[in-house]
Symmetry: C2
Subunit: 197 residues, 2 copies
């Protein structure tokens, strides 16, 4: 297992990296920037993360894990297909608003993942998606949610709010909380099934 000092050093590097990245983008920040902001040496940074990409990847995986956890916490409370679908949209909005810099980093995705990181990412996402479908399965079986090609659900439900949030993050649209009901409504309309019309 990992020393306590190691955990906190890693955390401080990730936090420093996030603040540098938000300031100047990934390309725009140097190892020195991160290292100075975290108050550690170059050697320490490389010892823990291997490369600048490595830092970005770790931050990305960390952010996704946190987002997924928040989403699942919300979804597990849902008692109908409709409330689950609406919850995806509203949780997306509120998480993004509460973690704007992280969300901005996730959206910017100016990262080219190493094969190893791609693996971790796929593993993370497929476990998450699996759990999400588990939650939705009973509502789908009851006909409350429509039967559609597998890969269309996520885009249909989250696509619009994601696109909107991207605009908001780059300063081109007002806060998503003001329009979240419109998007929740649209999401539900897009996937509601025969027994819910």
């Amino acid at each position: 297992m990992e020393r306590a000092s190691t955990t906190s050093r890693k955390r401080s590097i990730l936090d420093a990296a996030l603040s540098c990245f938000s300031e100047n983008g990934v390309e725009g920040t140097t190892i020195q920037d991160i290292q100075r902001a975290a108050g550690c040496s170059v050697g320490s940074l490389y010892h823990h993360f291997g490369s600048k990409e490595g830092v970005a990847e770790a931050l990305w995986l960390d952010a996704i894990a946190r987002f997924n956890a928040a989403m699942l916490r919300a979804l597990e409370k849902a008692e109908s297909g409709e409330s689950a679908v609406r919850s995806v949209v509203t949780t997306y909005c509120s998480w993004t608003a509460r973690h704007a810099p992280l969300a901005r980093f996730l959206h910017s995705r100016d990262i080219e993942f190493s094969p190893a990181a791609k693996e971790s990412q796929k593993a993370l996402q497929s476990a998450y998606i699996h759990r999400v479908f588990e939650i939705f399965a009973p509502f789908a079986r009851a006909g409350e949610v429509a039967e559609l090609p597998l890969h269309t659900y996520v885009p249909l439900i989250s696509g619009p709010i994601e696109a909107y949030v991207r605009r908001w993050l780059s300063g081109d649209a007002p806060s998503p909380v003001k329009v979240q009901d419109i998007f929740a409504e649209a999401a539900w309309n897009a996937v509601k099934g025969p027994s819910a019309r």
Copy 2:
């Protein structure tokens, strides 16, 4: 005005850059790669584009301009709100399929725009959006398209298909032509107005 030889040299650099970027990503390609592929010198490249970022930005703007032009050509043929909305989705699909490398580059957005490029980009987009709303205005006035907050139309219509295409481009979903009708339907449902229900 620009010399003919200049225009073609720029073009050859942009084409070379696109092929290098698709091959190895933006980070992964060096100035030398581009320069060799384009058959020009370092000096020439810097003379025309100022930096590697500058090349990426120019390519991005060029791609967006081409996409916008294709979309407007399609929209100008539409004779109803419904056909216009559906056309956004299907044109998005077909353009993306026909220009996969460009589309992949546009989606990867591992580019950090310089302030100047951000300006050009905003100018381009706002002229485009302005024209799009001009096309939709008569249908909106007739109540065929619903009245919604200004910034929600584009995400509601294009968000889902964009999200789907992103998955397709990264190899996680089958070709969009197979599902474009589902997304066209959803788009129209999301924005159709009182007189169209």
